[in-house]
């Protein structure tokens, strides 16, 4: 029991860090969200829940919400869905042992590149005059499809979403691949003896066998979709005309571009609530899985 004192001492530094730099700011945020304030004056006016009412009336808020959701949906379809498909292919007997490692490593590469670097890369790739994409379209004789991918309100958000799929599908695929490789091989052998096709093996053995990882990767992508900032900020800045705003850039814009830190704090509270709830769901789901 005396040891407890020492253990408490070991625990305190971490607690202090987390309380001061994580909890206090989040609580303060709730407080700030009820004032009108900006970064360079000391005058604060209490406005109660006014900011929240204005957020709900703001069409840009809904655009942001829609974009985050679009992002989440596409990410699940691509990163998890297509990633799963690729993982199954690579794990299958159709790919040689050494090739498995080669493919795995190559697909994984983009996720290691700094987000800003990827964003700048795609900024060039999507450039209407000298970009790679429009250049390809010319070569393929599809010139009428050329457009300013990041400046065209119809294509902008999808262009950024595509960029993220390029970057992260491999990462999710590797996670799924590792999980697949943990499935005992005799399950597959038994199925083969029973005459199962590849498709049946995948559907009845592989997918259920990695259910935990499937859930985990889905939640990672969903939570990641609501935490977006850098990808949008560096490529489009939220444009063209606010069509690619997401909650993170919307918050930043209110707080630092419009000098409305109170309003920005209110948006931050909403981001907090959304990510909090989804994280909570993840923990509940992974607990359930561990028990069962």
């Amino acid at each position: 029991m005396r040891k407890n004192k020492i253990y408490f001492i070991y625990i305190i530094p971490a607690l202090v860090f987390i309380i001061v730099f994580v909890y206090v700011p989040i609580v303060q945020n709730f407080y700030f969200s009820m004032f009108k304030m900006n970064s360079y004056t000391d005058e604060w006016t209490f406005v109660g829940l006014n900011h929240y009412l204005n957020i709900v009336k703001d069409p840009i808020f809904y655009t942001a919400l829609k974009n985050n959701t679009l992002y989440a949906v596409f990410s699940i379809i691509f990163q998890v869905g297509f990633g799963l498909f690729l993982a199954i292919l690579i794990d299958s007997k159709f790919v040689g042992k050494r090739l498995k490692v080669v493919f795995r490593n190559i697909y994984f590469l983009p996720s290691l590149i700094s987000i800003t670097a990827v964003a700048l890369m795609f900024y060039f790739i999507y450039n209407p005059n000298i970009g790679m994409l429009n250049g390809f379209l010319d070569l393929l004789g599809l010139s009428e499809w050329k457009t300013a991918w990041l400046a065209n309100p119809n294509t902008a958000i999808y262009s950024v979403i595509a960029m993220s799929q390029w970057q992260y599908t491999g990462y999710i695929m590797v996670l799924l691949l590792v999980a697949i490789q943990k499935i005992p091989r005799d399950l597959y052998e038994a199925a083969e003896i029973d005459g199962a096709t590849e498709f049946q093996k995948a559907f009845y053995i592989t997918i259920p066998g990695i259910k935990g990882m499937l859930v985990a990767t889905s939640i990672i992508t969903v939570i990641g979709s609501f935490k977006l900032f850098t990808e949008i900020y560096v490529t489009t800045g939220g444009g063209p005309y606010n069509t690619t705003q997401v909650l993170g850039t919307y918050m930043y814009r209110s707080a630092f571009l419009f000098d409305e830190m109170g309003y920005g704090s209110a948006v931050a509270v909403i981001i907090f609530i959304i990510t909090f709830v989804t994280s909570l769901i993840q923990i509940k789901l992974s607990k359930k899985r561990n028990k069962g």
Binding site: N38, S39, Y40, T41, N127, P128, N129, T147, A148, L150, A151, N152, P153, G239, P240, Y241, N242, F256, L257, F258, D259
Partner: protein
Amino acid sequence: MTKRLLVLLVLCLVAVSFVYAADEKVEIKFLHRWTQYMDYFEEVVKEFEEANPNIDVQMQAISNDPFKEKIKIVLGTDEAPDVFFTWPGEFTNRFIRAGKVLDITPYLEEDGWLETYIPSQIEPFIYEGAYYGAPFRLDGKAFYYNKVLFEEAGIEKAPETFDEFIEACQKLEAIGVTPIAFGNIRPWAVSHFIGTLNQKMVTDETRFTDLDPAKGTWTDPGYVTALEKYVEMIPYFNDFSNALSHDEARATFFNGDAAMMYLEIVETPDLEEFASDEVKENWGAFVFPAIPEGKGDQDYLTGYPEGFVVSGTTNHPEEAVEFLKFLTGKEAGKLEVNMLGWINGIKNVVGPEDNVSQGVLDTVALVLNAEEMVNWLDSSLHAKVWDAYSTQLQMLTDGFTTPEKVMEAVRKAADEVRKEFE
């Protein structure tokens, strides 16, 4: 092992804090926005420190677009720079109202400092009767054009009225040349057009009232006409103007692929450095053409000096003002002309011994001889009004809205802003 790690960690933290140890000299923090021209500013700082050995200048640069956001954050901290860059107009005024800019009128009135400046260049820094800053670089906007392409298109002389201008654009298009290079991914570019058009269409009185965030209503139909004129120009821009940066579009003008571009006169040195030989030898400049039916004075020139101010919360006002004086003074001005090709706000700063091109002198003359200068629209507006205006203008450029709807959005934003001042 962990003990050593801990020691290393502590040492690191200590080392880091040593970097910020206090100094005995007076330290002035200086912030500007020219990350591309550090050599010039380093030279200025060096010369100032040599002349003032008790002052140590810590210089920082943040590039143009991040600067507009960061300056607000930075001014809210205790680390606010003592001397910092600004655009006169509402951009600075909101900081003045918050007490973040020093009133330097008493300093200017001493020893004739005020008289060293060209009146039209120091006056923009007046707010409610007091002087708050000093000019660093005079500037104005004009249409630079490619004489060779004009000749090929059969345009005899630079257009003087708006109708002549559109005619010229049509002739250029007829021979397959892009008439106007325009890169508006950052909408300050379109603000230069609209600022000019607005000034030409409405009276000064209306314009000044509307620019005041406490009073602006933006109801004059002249603003809608101004946008209609802009809409007439749009077909003659290059493709994807909202997707290109100003620099990207400018490259096509410098290469001779576009016939005209609305440029700042401070870009003349860039032309002389980067343009193709044909463009270098065959360029000219004309002021934005007149619109006879407009109510504004057609002889005004769009453009305003950029300058520096002293922080209202500085701990070393005397030293900061000394640096401001030097930075915007004759010595630094001579350096500026020779190294960068820019003219500052000092009277007669250019002499026969200075290495400055005729091109620079000619375009600067446009500013010095202008009847009056008109501030850039984006730095004149309250942030919310400019946001509404700029978003709508980009939509207008792509054909997604109408002049009427643009002004509706601007009016709505202006109404909200007025409420804040009641």
